[in-house]
């Protein structure tokens, strides 16, 4: 690592490209799996025309969106209208810079970390950056100069701001237990504790995930895009690539929420119950399973639950959603925070 250029630019650049490509591919194929799994849940077949068993469908969709006409409403606020999709997709992708997909490992004699960076305020960084994403939604809705978009944007903003509070509170319980804001350290703390945080923090875990569903505007909290009321909500007027950005951001955000849940509550890249089953995981037959595989597996489980929700629940009404956030989740997560704090004080953290 003598050459500073390599350490400073080349390696991060490669990582950025790999992570971005992976995220975009996951997001694209997430839409495919969503349609397939939902189809099977509803006793249908799902997309099966493009490529073998429909596997190239996301590629076709992406191409279609690329070449589609880009419509800008005549009375839209042009610049803000353009800014909306950018503001929503940039934070969604930026967050991946601090998510640890696995522990450091050796490659050709170099130590490689399968994440872009490990900042000591990792989780705050994520919360901060993703809170910027709401601008894309609210501005896009406003700039379209369309009542349905506007209403969708405002609904979404209210929903995001409301659910950020219980979500943050449930994250804090993990911070209390791990005694760190760094995502890598949080995973390592779970290794040391020998227990994943979803066991002591079961309430926080539940609240986090439900809030995550609300934060990503997914069923049953997909009110901002409730088609029967608001056509397509805040992105009603968007088409072509701009629409694709919103689409990408939605799926990327699902991956983000699932990744964070994996890191905070399910021990990140750790194999299940590392302390109790240490002997099992040391078996040569199993030792080849790379930590990243565990991470991806856990994340995929969360993504599956997202789709499962969509196949199972009707949509809430806006006031019901707000009631749930303010009158149930915030008090419960506050009480839970105090309980966990007390527990940490009495039993000791880490």
């Amino acid at each position: 690592m003598a050459n500073p250029w390599v350490a400073f630019l080349l390696v991060p650049l490669i990582k950025i490209v790999v992570i971005l490509l992976a995220v975009i591919l996951i997001a694209a194929y997430m839409s495919f799996f969503e349609r397939k799994i939902l189809a099977y849940m509803q006793i249908r077949i799902g997309p099966n025309r493009v490529g073998p068993r429909g596997w190239l469908q996301p590629i076709a969709d992406a191409l279609k969106l690329l070449v589609k006409e880009d419509i800008v409403p005549a009375r839209a606020e042009k610049f803000v209208y353009f800014l909306g999709p950018v503001l929503v997709v940039a934070p969604a992708l930026l967050v991946f810079s601090v998510i640890p997909f696995g522990p450091a490992f050796k490659l050709f004699g170099y130590e490689v970390t399968p994440y872009l960076t490990d900042v000591n305020i990792g989780i705050l960084f994520i919360l901060g950056v993703s809170s910027v994403g709401v601008y894309g939604v609210i501005l896009g809705g406003w700039a379209s100069n369309n009542k349905f978009s506007m209403m969708g944007g405002l609904r979404s903003a209210a929903q995001l701001v409301s659910y950020e509070v219980p979500m943050g509170l449930s994250v804090v319980t993990v911070l209390l237990m791990a005694n760190s804001l760094s995502l890598v350290k949080i995973v390592e703390a779970q290794k040391q504790a020998g227990v994943w945080y979803f066991i002591p923090g079961i309430v926080a875990f539940f609240i986090y995930f439900v809030c995550g569903v609300a934060e990503t505007n997914r069923n049953p909290f997909d009110l901002p895009e409730a088609e029967s009321e608001l056509v397509a909500g805040f992105h009603t007027e968007y088409s072509g690539m701009k629409f694709a950005f919103y689409f990408l951001a939605e799926y990327a955000n699902m991956v983000v929420v699932s990744s964070i849940a994996t890191v905070l509550f399910l021990g990140g890249w750790l194999p299940p119950f590392p302390n109790w089953l240490a002997a099992v995981w040391a078996l040569p037959a199993l030792a080849w399973i790379p930590p990243i595989a565990w991470f991806v597996l856990k994340m995929a489980a969360f993504l599956f639950v997202y789709i499962w929700f969509r196949g199972t629940f009707p949509r809430y009404r806006f006031d019901q959603l707000m009631d749930l956030g303010w009158k149930v989740f915030i008090p419960v997560s506050l009480v839970n925070l105090m309980a966990v704090g007390l527990g940490v004080l009495l039993i000791g953290g880490k």
């Binding site: 249908r44 056509v231 199972t312 629940f313 009707p314 949509r315 009404r317």
Partner: protein, 566 residues
């Protein structure tokens, strides 16, 4: 039948007592129809008397009778449900000054009917609370009335210049949220302007009738008695058999034709099969409106075998082409009976599963309980029919009130709920779905042998009237026929169930959240193609913000000239 005659005599007597010499004539056409000719100035008193007898308003029929008696006739159709009797109040209106007193203040449900009568025949209701156009386009020229006899069915008048829609003004401080002209959920043309304060609806305005196809006019001018059933079953995209049955029954009643027992049973069975697939379709749409697409996919999958069954029986999924005056054109093949039983068994098994799933779903309950409440009293006043009425505790069902087909021998169960909310309407429909399956089974078990078509030897006599009601999945469909010469009706009037039901909508969404509007409308199971069948008008949509109507029209013409290239 004796009791019906007795009741008719009582009604006749009561009206005579009330308006005295205002009652000019009374006659009984078909045994279940009492026809009272009243003086126009006594119309309101006569209506009051009928309402006191708990009569339910059905529809208004305007007839251009100038070739017959040099006047217009306006007929007000009422039903005395418990007594199985129809009462017709008939007014003769002078052609020089065609006016009649409005009864909309007494019967809120007559609001649209009177406006339609004015638009189509040109008899103006005096004192109407909302005298805007209902079914004619805004650019239809003044003084042209398409259902008058001297208006050719294929005439296309030039568009009037400089006209604009007359929207209702929102209350102070409310803003207008347009839903439509193409409703995003039901994918049908209906234009609601919701007046909202925040997310709360404080009022609304409706403009519909964008899709008139001139069906009544065609029936009166170019088609013959036996051709009309094929047109009638195209009134609706779902329940076609209902309309062709209703039409045939109206003619059969007017002409006194006795339909063979077997044909009546088969009609019943087909009608109930139609209810089964229609209610399944509705359940799916309701689920879709609530963002619950799994219900949509499941119920529509369950519905499919019923459609296949219809195809196997009639050759078509939807337009069966089975009905004709006097019975059926096609018998139910004996081979299909076992298959029908198998399919309905399967549908029943799965419907019970769906019912159990949705009844236990708390989110669904939260989205439908106390949503879109229609009180029983208001439901009666706006003359709501079908599941919305029964969901509000109004015990009406055309199959019981005016038994037709084989319902006198295989009666349905009356499924009512008291709450009047969307949930109640869900429950009513699910119950009816299961009851329809029971009726199909019973009907097949008791299916008599014999002919399915009564031969009609004589010409159908002129100037007879027949009223027939059929309980469609959405409610009661009313067909009125006045017979004429040239082997065709002089007047054919259709009232689809959505017509009265839609008029209840403003009260149901008052002070509701916007999010509840689609499911409230959806819970009426509205069918716009049924409702809008009267006139052949092309209306382009209005986007009043940016383009004027003329600009849009010019743009679309330009596009056509360029061969559709942008």
């Amino acid at each position: 039948m004796a009791s019906v005659l007795g009741v008719a005599a009582q009604v006749n007597e009561a009206v005579a007592r009330k308006i005295g010499a205002g009652l000019r004539a009374a006659s009984q056409g078909p045994p279940d129809t009492l026809r009272l000719v009243v003086a126009p100035e006594e119309l309101r008193s006569a209506t009051e008397e009928l309402l006191r007898l708990r009569a339910r308003f059905l529809i208004t029929v305007g007839i251009d009778a100038r070739p017959l008696s040099a006047d217009y006739r306006v007929l007000y159709l009422f039903s005395l449900d418990g007594e199985h009797l129809f009462v017709v109040l008939e007014c003769a209106v002078s052609p020089d000054d065609p006016h009649v007193d409005s009864i909309a203040a007494l019967v809120p449900g007559a609001n649209w009917a009177e406006r339609e009568c004015r638009d189509a025949v040109g008899v103006t209701p005096d004192g109407h609370p909302d005298p805007r156009r209902l079914l004619l386009a805004d650019d239809w020229p003044e003084g042209l009335f398409p259902l008058r006899r001297d208006f050719p069915y294929d005439y296309r008048p030039p568009a009037a210049e400089g006209v604009a829609p007359v929207p209702k003004q929102p209350p102070e401080g409310a803003s207008v949220l347009p839903i439509g002209p193409f409703f995003p959920v039901l994918e049908e043309p209906s234009y609601w302007r919701l007046f909202v304060e925040g997310e709360t609806v404080v009022g609304c305005d409706y403009r519909g009738f964008y899709n008139h196809r001139g069906i009544e006019k065609l029936g009166e001018s170019t088609l013959t008695y036996n051709e009309i059933p094929y047109l009638a079953e195209r009134i609706c995209g779902i329940c076609g058999f209902i309309h062709s049955t209703a039409y045939c029954q109206a003619v059969e009643k007017a002409a006194g034709i006795e339909v063979p027992r077997r044909a009546r049973y088969i009609r019943s069975i087909m009608l109930e099969l139609e209810r089964v697939h229609s209610h399944l379709l509705w359940l799916g749409i309701a689920g879709h409106i609530l963002g619950f697409d799994t219900v949509l996919m499941q119920t529509w999958r369950m519905r499919e075998p019923v459609m296949w069954l219809a195809e196997e029986i009639s050759g078509n999924r939807k337009t069966y082409g089975m009905n004709t005056i006097g019975g059926l054109r096609r018998d139910l093949p004996a081979t299909v009976v076992a298959k029908v039983l198998k399919v309905v068994d399967e549908v029943e098994r799965e419907s019970v599963a769906v019912r159990d799933a949705i009844v236990g779903d708390t989110t669904l309950l939260a989205r439908t309980k106390n949503v879109g409440v229609l009180t029983g009293d208001w439901a009666r006043q706006v003359c709501v029919v079908g599941p919305p009425a029964r969901g509000s505790g109004v015990p009406i069902d055309a199959r019981l009130d005016h038994p037709y087909a084989a319902y006198d021998e295989v009666p349905p169960r009356l499924c009512t709920q008291q709450a009047g909310d969307t949930w109640a309407r869900v429950l009513v429909r699910v119950e009816e779905l299961l009851d329809s399956i029971r009726q199909v089974r019973e009907g097949l078990a008791r299916l008599p042998a014999g002919e399915v078509l009564a031969e009609v030897k004589d010409e159908i006599p002129r100037d007879r009237i027949g009223i027939s009601v059929v309980e469609a999945p959405r409610g009661e469909a009313v067909h009125f026929v006045m017979t004429g010469g040239d082997n065709r009706p002089y007047r054919w009037r259709v009232r689809a169930p959505t017509y009265p039901n839609l008029q209840a909508m403003p009260a149901m969404i008052d002070h509701a959240a916007i999010a509840d509007v689609p499911i409230t409308l959806g819970s009426l199971d509205p069918c716009f193609s049924c409702t809008e069948r009267v006139e052949a008008i092309d209306v382009s949509t209005h986007s009043r913000r940016v383009y004027s109507r003329q600009e849009l029209l010019a743009m679309s013409r330009e596009l056509t000239l360029r061969g559709g290239r942008r």
